[in-house]
Symmetry: C2
Subunit: 311 residues, 2 copies
C-alpha cells in the first residue's frame, strides 16, 4: 500500500448485514430455533426503540424472540422470578434485560440472576471473569480468541463488534500496538481484554492520562469509547491506523433538521485526511454491530445447549 | 531529587514486617480473633513450606489458623464438602486452598466453591469480576482504591503487594505511565487492573509484543511478572523509574552452595546502575508481601463480617 492511499470508511452497516446473513444461514442448519427473551421495564422511548430493533433483527435471522414488558413500578422480586423461569426454559437460550432499570431495582442483582450461559449481553460476573482471564489456570480450556463463536462463554456485544470490524477489514492485531481510550465496564475494559487476547500490546488511556495524544499516536489500532464529542483529533492518529469510534454524541447544529447531529469521539473529518487510515463513521460504524453480536451470542448459546445435552 | 541520586532497593522484607505489625495492632482492637482455614492436599515440599509460613505468620499477628491436611488421593467431593462446612463456619473468615491441587481435582471447581467473601486469595470469579470493573454500573459502590483495606471484596495477594510496595516508597501512580510485563491471571492482569484503578496509564506487554524494550522505556513504573530470568535489561528502564520484580527464577551457579541462585525477571545489577531507580531485590522484594496481604485480606474479611452482622 503506498503512502498516498486515501483513507477508507469501515462500513459497519454493510458488515453487520453480512454477519446477519451468515447467522441466518447458520440458524437454518439448526434442528430448532434459538430463542431470545427480552425484558423491558418502563416506557423509556430509547429502550423501547432498542428492544423493537432487537426483536426485528431476531425475526429476520430465524431467532424466536419472547417479549416481557413490565411497568416501571414492577418489583425487583417479580423480575427475579421471571428470570428464574426463563433460566429453566429450554426454548430460551438468551435472556436480555434492557438497561437502564428504574432506580428502585438493583441492576447488578438482576444481571447476576441471569444464568451465565444465557447471559447474551455478557454482563454476568462469571462471564466478566472469563473475559478477564488468560486461561493459565490449571484446568482452564485453551480458548481460540480468533473464532469468537467458539469461545465457551458470552463476550459483551459492543466490544465483540469492535473486534469483528477490525478483523473484517483485515487489520492484523498480533504484535501491534492498540490503544483503548476509555475504561468503562461496558466497552473500554472488555475491548482492552479482547485486544490483549488477540496478542496486541494494549494501552488503556483515560481521563487521568497526561499525554494522551502522544500515547494514541503510537497506536496501530485505536478504539475510542469515552463519550466526548470529537475528542480524538487528527494529530493523535498515525498514518495507516485503524480507528474504531464507539462514541455517539449529539452536538447542536442549527443547520440540521432536528437541531442537532450525531458525532463520534473522533474528529472523523480530520482523521479521514490522514493517509491509509481505516475509520468507522458515526452513525453506521460500531452501532449496527452490537445487535449482530447479540444474535451471534444467542445462536452460540443455543448450539452449546444442544452440545451439553449430547445432541 | 538530582539526576545523580543513586538507585535504591525497595526493602520488601522490612515493609512487610511493618505491615504485619500494623495488622497485629488492628487485630488487637477486634472483639474476637480473625480465623484462616488452610487446606493442604498431598505432600509437595514447596506447598508444605508455604502453608507452614502462612500459619506461622497468622499466629504472630493474632489470627487463628485452622489446618486441614489431606492425602493426594482425596476426592474432589471431600474437598468441596469441607469447603461448604468452612463457608458456614462463623469462626472462619478466610479459606485458603494451597495450589496446585493433584490432577484429578478441578482447581476451578474448588476455587469457585469458596464463598467470595471468604476467598482471601482473591481467585473466585466474583472477586475477579469486581477487580476488572470500574464501578460505573448503576448501583455499584464507589471504591477508594487508595485504601485497599476498604475495598469491599478480595484483591489477590501478590498483585496487592506490588501496589503496596509502590505506595510505601512514595511513588505516585496517578497520570503516570505504568507497564506490566506478563499477562497471567495470578499476577500480570490483576496488577494491570490495580494500576489502572489508581489512575496510571497502563500498558500490558507480553510474549507477542514486538518492541518491548521501547515500550518499557516509557514507563515510570514497571512490574515484571513473566518468570524469565533477568529478561528485563538495564537499557529498558528509564531514569527515575520504580521497578517491581515479581519473578523468582533459579539459575545455575557453580559458586553457590546449592549449585543455583535465585534471580528475578529483571537484571537487578544492571538496573541498579541507573540513576534514581527504585527496585525490589529478589529475594526480599515482592515475596514477603504476599503473606502480609493474605493476613490483611483475612482481617478485612473478619471486620466486614462483623459489620454485616451489625456489630
Amino acid at each position: 500500500m503506498s503512502a498516498s492511499d486515501a483513507s477508507k470508511d469501515i462500513d459497519g452497516k454493510a458488515i453487520a448485514a453480512t454477519i446477519r446473513s451468515e447467522i441466518k444461514d447458520r440458524v437454518a442448519t439448526l434442528r430448532s430455533a434459538p430463542g431470545l427473551a427480552v425484558i423491558l421495564v418502563g416506557a423509556r422511548r430509547d429502550s423501547q426503540t432498542y428492544v423493537r430493533m432487537k426483536k426485528k433483527a431476531c425475526e429476520e435471522v430465524g431467532i424466536a424472540s419472547f417479549g416481557f414488558d413490565y411497568p416501571a413500578t414492577v418489583t425487583e422480586d417479580e423480575l427475579l422470578q421471571k428470570i428464574q423461569e426463563l433460566n429453566a426454559d429450554d426454548k430460551v437460550h438468551g435472556i436480555l434485560v434492557q438497561l437502564p432499570l428504574p432506580e428502585h431495582i438493583n441492576e447488578n442483582t438482576v444481571i447476576e440472576a441471569v444464568h451465565p450461559s444465557k447471559d447474551v449481553d455478557g454482563l454476568h460476573p462469571v462471564n466478566t471473569a472469563s473475559l478477564c482471564s488468560t486461561g493459565t489456570h490449571a484446568g482452564a480450556e485453551k480458548i481460540d480468541w480468533k473464532d469468537m463463536s467458539s469461545v465457551p462463554f458470552h463476550i459483551p456485544c459492543t466490544p465483540q463488534g469492535c473486534i469483528e470490524l477490525i478483523d473484517r477489514v483485515g487489520t492484523e492485531l498480533k504484535g501491534k500496538n492498540a490503544v483503548v481510550i476509555g475504561r468503562s465496564n461496558l466497552v473500554g475494559l472488555p475491548v482492552a481484554m479482547l485486544l490483549m487476547h488477540r496478542d496486541a500490546t494494549v494501552t488503556i488511556v483515560h481521563s487521568k492520562t497526561t499525554d494522551a495524544p502522544n500515547v494514541v499516536n503510537k497506536a496501530d489500532v485505536v478504539v475510542a469509547a469515552v463519550g466526548r464529542a470529537e475528542m480524538v483529533k487528527k494529530e493523535w492518529i498515525k498514518e495507516g491506523a485503524t480507528v474504531i469510534d464507539v462514541g455517539i454524541n449529539s452536538v447542536d447544529d442549527a443547520n440540521a433538521k432536528r437541531g442537532y447531529r450525531l458525532v463520534g469521539d473522533v474528529d472523523y473529518k480530520g482523521v479521514k485526511e490522514i493517509d491509509d487510515v481505516k475509520i468507522t463513521p458515526v452513525p453506521g460504524g460500531v452501532g449496527p454491530m452490537t445487535i449482530a453480536m447479540l444474535l451471534r451470542n444467542t445462536v452460540n448459546s443455543c448450539v452449546r445447549s444442544h452440545a451439553t445435552k449430547g445432541e
